[in-house]
């Protein structure tokens, strides 16, 4: 079934209102399998709300989406088996050791003992935590914790991984290592949807969705987005210039 779905994620007029406030306003997009998508926007633009709806953590007010071929409103259980989710909070148990965290998350995904053991060594290797399996997670520095959280989120080899601000509060070197991991995942065929407000990071994405005030204001590869902008000086425009220009246009256009 999921193999037959043309896209990893298909959103149709997806909306979310909190009372009178519209956080996400009729958003539609398709994500190809095996690519990295960057969801860009200022704080409060609606990035996290979109991700939370796609993961089944939040119900949509209107519109729908299919994730791995399953409907977010009617088939949340099937979706949960096929996705991984990691937020900026690196939600691990700080009072458990590295290995205990991995075994716990493997357990709640219903992985067998043998599978957990083999995935454990894979995650430990990936996160660079070999030899530190019995250390308390709370003692790890941000970068290690972040890679361990990613490892725990993809233990069950999901088709699609949602990363909500995964690099917040991590040093630049760790951020680069982290993006290498994400690239490796995409090469293995995993679809990655990642939100960030570090505009330099957006260059790693194959495609970018620019969100402003709950709506998609631009979509394309980083190159395409920059091409649309006239070069004003000797320096080629950066994604930041694109971003600022688009937001200004929006603000002028709608008068808000």
């Amino acid at each position: 079934m999921s193999g037959a779905a043309p896209y990893a994620v298909e959103a149709r007029e997806l909306s979310k209102r909190f009372g009178s406030f519209t956080a996400v306003d009729r958003v539609s997009f398709n994500l190809d399998k095996g690519s990295i998508f960057g969801l860009l926007g200022a704080n409060g633009a609606g990035k996290s709300t979109i991700i939370r709806m796609l993961c089944g953590l939040l119900r949509s007010s209107a519109g729908t989406a299919r994730v791995a071929g399953y409907d977010i409103n009617t088939e949340p259980e099937q979706i949960k088996r096929n996705i991984g989710y990691m937020s900026q909070r690196f939600s691990l148990y700080l009072d458990l050791t590295v290995a205990e965290n991995i075994r716990f998350f493997g357990g709640i995904y219903g992985l067998s003992k043998q599978l957990i053991t083999s995935r454990l060594s894979w995650v430990v290797e990936m996160a660079g935590l070999r030899g530190r399996e019995d250390e308390l997670t709370g003692r790890l520095a941000g970068g290690w914790r972040q890679r361990l959280a990613l490892g725990c989120a993809i233990l069950h080899r999901p088709q699609i991984v949602f990363l909500d601000e995964p690099t917040a509060g991590v040093d630049p070197l760790s951020r680069r290592d982290f993006w290498e991991l994400i690239n490796r995942l995409a090469e293995e065929g995993t679809t990655v949807l990642v939100t960030t407000h570090y505009l330099d990071e957006a260059e790693y994405a194959n495609r970018i969705l620019l969100i402003h005030a709950g709506r998609i204001v631009a979509e394309g590869s980083p190159g395409e987005l920059k091409e649309g902008l006239p070069q004003a000086g000797p320096i080629p425009p950066s994604l930041e210039d694109v971003f600022i220009r688009l937001i200004e246009k929006q603000a002028g256009g709608t008068g808000s």
Partner: protein, 382 residues
């Protein structure tokens, strides 16, 4: 299905074992409370400090004073030279009661066949004052009855007997020790602390740390999560219960008169309703601080005041008495006392049991409904 509960169980036990501080609080608090309630907060009134002013110092007045001196309820602390001293002694808490025998005590007794002694009581503790008053009345009445008897005998009658005599026999708690009465209440109190507060805190902690979100995106089902998170606290609460029972036997000689099986059943039923309340609180609270405040407000205070733990429900005004039905403590305590003190069977407290079942059903239904709503994501992120 059940395979996914086990990792949660394991994790929960590990976290409890690693949180040494909470574990210490969980295990020492019950014993501390037991010793506190058993020894310090005794409701028994004995050894009332008494001062006597004997204005006559006759054989007759001496006899009355001796009556008090011989009672174990009174300690004759002061023999006063003047009634002026009473004020000072009572305000310094050296005496709780004073007896004033007038200078014309035996004279009036002979002449009018009636006389008055004055009793002065420290009413600042109303409970012990009224108990003390009861004892004093009994001593004085006993004394006057004997005078009447002697007078009648002198008049040539048959040896006089009081028309109605009584032989008191106190059932279930013959020595009227308040520890016997308080231990069942204490068990309820301790279970509320462990069950409601610990479960609500352990769930809200996960919300605060974001790990709840991580669990919610996994295929685990709400009931698996709840079972996995509550079983450890059920076991801990049962363990503490057992420890309290053993300790109250060793310290106060309180034994369970009734069936242990019934006791276990009532305790489990109460635990289920408490856990339901704990989960309900955790769905309402977003921070551990809020969860703690809510649990304290909804459990400790009603358990202490409205359950009949210390204050008898039948003495409460009707409005408050109705309120007691809103908390499971009253049902639980009545059933516990029936089993532990009276050794009663099911027929004695089936109504309490129905109350507990109703309460458990309501809290569980409400909490799973709320949890499901949050789980399905119909509510915004808190």
């Amino acid at each position: 299905m059940s395979g996914r509960i086990i990792p949660i169980l394991k994790k929960e036990f590990r976290q409890i074992a690693r949180d040494k501080r909470s574990l210490a609080v969980l295990s020492f608090q019950p014993l501390f409370l037991l010793v506190m309630f058993g020894y310090a907060i005794s409701l028994d009134v004995r050894h009332i400090s008494l001062a006597i002013y004997d204005g006559e110092k006759s054989a007759q007045s001496r006899r009355l004073a001796d009556e008090f001196g011989h009672s174990e309820y009174f300690d004759l602390k002061f023999d006063l030279a003047s009634t002026q001293e009473i004020d000072g002694l009572m305000s310094r808490d050296q005496i709780q009661a004073a007896l004033v025998i007038p200078a014309d005590f035996s004279r009036r007794l002979l002449k009018d066949n009636a006389c008055t002694v004055q009793i002065i009581l420290d009413g600042s503790n109303a409970v012990s004052a009224s108990t003390a008053l009861g004892y004093i009345e009994a001593v004085v009445q006993d004394f006057s009855a004997r005078i009447t008897a002697r007078a009648l005998l002198r008049l040539g009658n048959q040896p006089f007997q009081q028309p109605v005599d009584y032989r008191p026999r106190v059932w279930y708690n013959p020595e009227l020790r308040s520890s016997v009465f308080l231990v069942p209440g204490l068990i309820g109190f301790i279970m509320i602390v462990t069950a409601v507060i610990s479960t609500s805190l352990s769930i809200v902690r996960e919300k605060e740390h974001g790990t709840m979100e991580q669990i919610l995106v996994s295929p685990i089902r709400p009931f698996e999560l709840i079972i996995g998170k509550t079983i450890p606290y059920v076991l801990i609460a049962l363990g503490i219960n057992l420890a309290v029972l053993v300790a109250s036997y060793l310290l106060f000689g309180v034994t369970v008169q009734g069936s242990y099986l019934l006791l276990l059943m009532v305790v489990l039923l109460f635990l289920v309703s408490s856990l339901g309340l704990g989960i309900l609180i955790s769905t309402l609270a977003t921070t551990q601080h809020m969860a703690f405040t809510l649990s304290t407000l909804l459990t400790i205070l009603p358990a202490f005041i409205l359950s009949g733990f210390v204050f008898p429900i039948r003495n409460m005004p009707p409005v408050i008495r109705v309120l007691t039905f809103l908390f499971p403590g009253r049902f639980f305590l009545a059933a516990l006392r029936s089993i532990i003190i009276k050794g009663a069977g099911l027929s004695a407290f089936w109504q309490q049991l129905i109350g507990l079942v109703l309460f458990a059903a309501v809290t569980l239904a409400l909490s799973t409904a709320r949890l499901r709503r949050q789980y399905r994501g119909t509510e915004g992120q808190a």
